[in-house]
């Protein structure tokens, strides 16, 4: 087991390095010069040259990369020339919001998907099952921003039940805070539940054919117990894996959703940086998000190895 982990960590390091390189290369795609952007109207050739020297932009590219990497490894992701805040600070402030959103989204997706999967597995082939499976398929064709518009229209505009935008910190008002996450979380959850439901349903249908389920029925156990204890547990492995993978991909989803619902998370930070052409923040956030994504996938890999009892008990 330790060998497995060790090998995966060894694999992780070059990938992370490649990510930093890619981020840097993308950042250097900027035509023209960062110095011009920073100075804006006040750009004069002398000021530009001076600033370029200050920012190290007149160095050859590989030096710039190494300097930048060195800074990054020390935790210095730069400082925004618009807001004056360090990138790291900005990220840390906003990270909890994004994490809360991702958790709310995934949990809601599970709350919708798991019961539906169980019912559809039990009633496999029925009209209900076909309708649900069809809806799941259709739902996958509804992008997050569409779902967001729909939900906003229904709940914020028509029913006036929930706020369309805005954010209240948890410390200030827990209930208000959760209210702000209902629509955004639901938006993302609508994209999550089809995948989760499909995976669990298909595994459960297979499990329900197993002999030990027939045995459980022959023992006269309550149907609810058979479903939730005997059938659900062996069917959950794929579900757990997919949930883990999805949480990582939700990072992309939060971008859109945070912008639409004006939640001050990492996604909004990124998009905002693009609007204001704050390239320092952009570079730092892209790096952070990409590295986070890689780490997330790594953790999921580890988790999978832990959950698979074959590895746990050393049997093939």
């Amino acid at each position: 087991m330790l060998g497995f982990v060790g090998r995966r960590i060894l694999h992780l390091v070059p990938v992370l390095l490649a990510v930093t390189l890619m981020t840097f290369l993308i950042a250097s795609l900027l035509p023209g010069d960062l110095a011009y952007v920073v100075l804006g109207d006040q750009a004069t050739p002398e000021k530009v040259a001076a600033l370029r020297h200050d920012m190290g932009l007149d160095q050859p590219i590989y030096w710039r990369y190494l300097y930048w990497l060195g800074d990054v490894l020390q935790g210095d992701l730069g400082r925004s020339f618009r807001t004056g805040q360090t990138v790291l600070q900005a990220i840390i402030e906003r990270l909890p919001v994004s994490i809360e959103l991702m958790l709310v989204a995934e949990i809601t997706g599970l709350l919708i998907g798991i019961p539906l999967a169980i019912i559809c597995a039990v009633k496999s082939g029925s009209t209900f099952d076909r309708v649900m499976t069809g809806s799941a398929f259709g739902m996958l064709s509804v992008p997050a921003f569409l779902a967001a518009i729909l939900l906003i229209y229904l709940f914020a505009v028509q029913l006036r039940l929930l706020p369309a935008t805005g954010y209240v910190p948890f410390g200030e008002d827990p209930l208000g805070n959760l209210r702000c996450f209902v629509l955004p979380g639901l938006t993302l959850a609508l994209g999550e539940w089809p995948v989760l439901m499909r995976v669990l349903r298909s595994d459960m249908i297979a499990t329900l054919q197993e002999d030990y389920i027939a045995m459980a029925r022959a023992k006269g156990l309550k149907p609810m117990r058979i479903l939730l204890v005997h059938a659900l547990k062996p069917s959950s492995l794929t579900l757990v894996t997919v949930t883990g993978i999805n949480i990582g991909r939700l990072i992309g989803g939060t971008l859109i959703v945070e912008s639409i619902f004006a939640l001050p998370g990492i996604g909004r930070l990124l998009v905002g940086a693009i609007y204001t052409r704050d390239f320092i923040i952009l570079q730092g956030v892209v790096l952070f998000v990409a590295a986070g994504f890689v780490l997330m996938n790594f953790i999921v890999d580890m988790l999978y190895a832990v959950l698979d009892p074959r590895i746990r008990h050393g049997r093939a």
Binding site: Y212, A218, K219, G220, P234
Partner: protein, 331 residues
């Protein structure tokens, strides 16, 4: 005969609709089982014996259609509500399946699979349930039973797992135990132990038992009565000793001959039964065994024989040309 039989199956048929037509898995089967007695049901794979055991418990697949009556202790199981059936299963009637690796849930501990029945049917909880579970495991001959409770099925050997399955079946003191090929998936050396265990428990608890197997050797000496099934029907039935002494059905004789004998000369060819079991979706017009029977005549292929009434020895059979009976006498 002491009062009403525990189990009385009357004209039981199970039909399963398939793409190629209706499949008669069980065809007008009738059985009677007294308290504390053992019935052996013998037949090849696909003869319907497993479907029969599922039918007794009303655990058939959704598509299956069942007709007939299954009287258990005076109540017709066919017409019982699902809830009443559920209370019966595991408590009054228990089952041991063929393959303990697949009949035990791989992700639940032995203990939880044992205790859940105790909790469900006897309302036992916590410490008393655990104690009883340990006692049950010890009774079926599992060493270090307390530790076993926390283990998972894959950590035990095949024989052990089947003992656990038997312990689960016996946990609520059932009045009828159905053992569906309990030893087929086990090593030969373990088979006898398991069968002895079943016989011992049955005697001690005065339980009725149905022992389903494809092996005539298993039922010899361990059952009170034997019923032979072929193509979904009972084709011969007799008290065990009578059956082995006086076989009537050519099929039963062939089954017996097919058992390899330890004292035969080396390289003796196995007396297999030629041909294959019939396609249940296309029942033949005559006797189902006729294509493979070396005593078959034109009559056998034209008309299916009926099960005779029981003679003085309690022997019934379904054959136009039974063994050991004057060829001129027709059932």
């Amino acid at each position: 005969m002491s009062g009403k039989p525990l189990l009385a199956v009357d004209d039981l048929s199970v039909t399963i609709p398939t793409a190629r037509g209706p499949l008669r898995a069980v065809d007008r089967v009738g059985l009677v089982l007294e308290r504390g007695r053992t019935l052996g049901i013998v037949g090849e794979s696909g003869c319907g014996k497993t479907m029969l055991s599922r039918a007794l418990l009303q655990l058939l697949p959704k598509k299956a259609k069942l007709s007939g009556r299954v009287m258990f202790d005076g109540r017709d199981l066919v017409s019982l509500s699902p809830e009443a059936l559920r209370k019966l299963r595991g408590k009054e009637i228990a089952v041991v399946f063929q393959d303990p690796m697949t009949s035990l849930n791989p992700v639940l501990t032995i203990g939880s699979q044992l205790i859940e029945t105790l909790r469900e049917h006897l309302g036992m909880n916590g410490g008393s349930a655990t104690e009883r579970a340990v006692a049950l495991l010890a009774a079926v001959g599992i060493p270090a039973p307390a530790q076993r409770l926390r283990q998972y099925p894959h950590q035990l050997s095949g024989g052990m797992r089947q003992r656990v399955a038997i312990a689960i079946a016996l946990s609520c003191e059932p009045r009828l135990l159905i053992a569906d090929e309990p030893t087929t998936a086990l090593d030969v050396t373990v088979q006898a132990q398991i069968l002895d265990l079943l016989a011992r428990e049955q005697r001690q608890r005065q339980m009725a038992m149905i022992l389903i197997t494809h092996d005539l050797g298993v039922v010899a000496g361990r059952t009170d009565e034997v019923a032979v099934m072929y193509a979904g029907r009972i084709v011969e039935r007799a008290p065990t000793r009578v059956l082995f002494k006086d076989m009537r059905m050519p099929y039963t004789a062939a089954l017996l001959a097919a058992i390899p004998k330890l004292d035969a000369a080396p390289h003796t060819p196995l007396a297999a039964i030629g041909g294959k079991p019939p396609d249940p979706t296309r029942p033949a017009p005559g006797c189902a065994f006729a294509p493979r029977c070396n005593r078959a005549e034109a009559l056998c292929r034209e008309r299916p024989p009926n099960l005779t009434l029981a003679d003085a020895a309690g022997h019934q059979y379904s054959c136009w040309r039974p063994l050991g009976v004057d060829d001129r006498a027709v059932a």
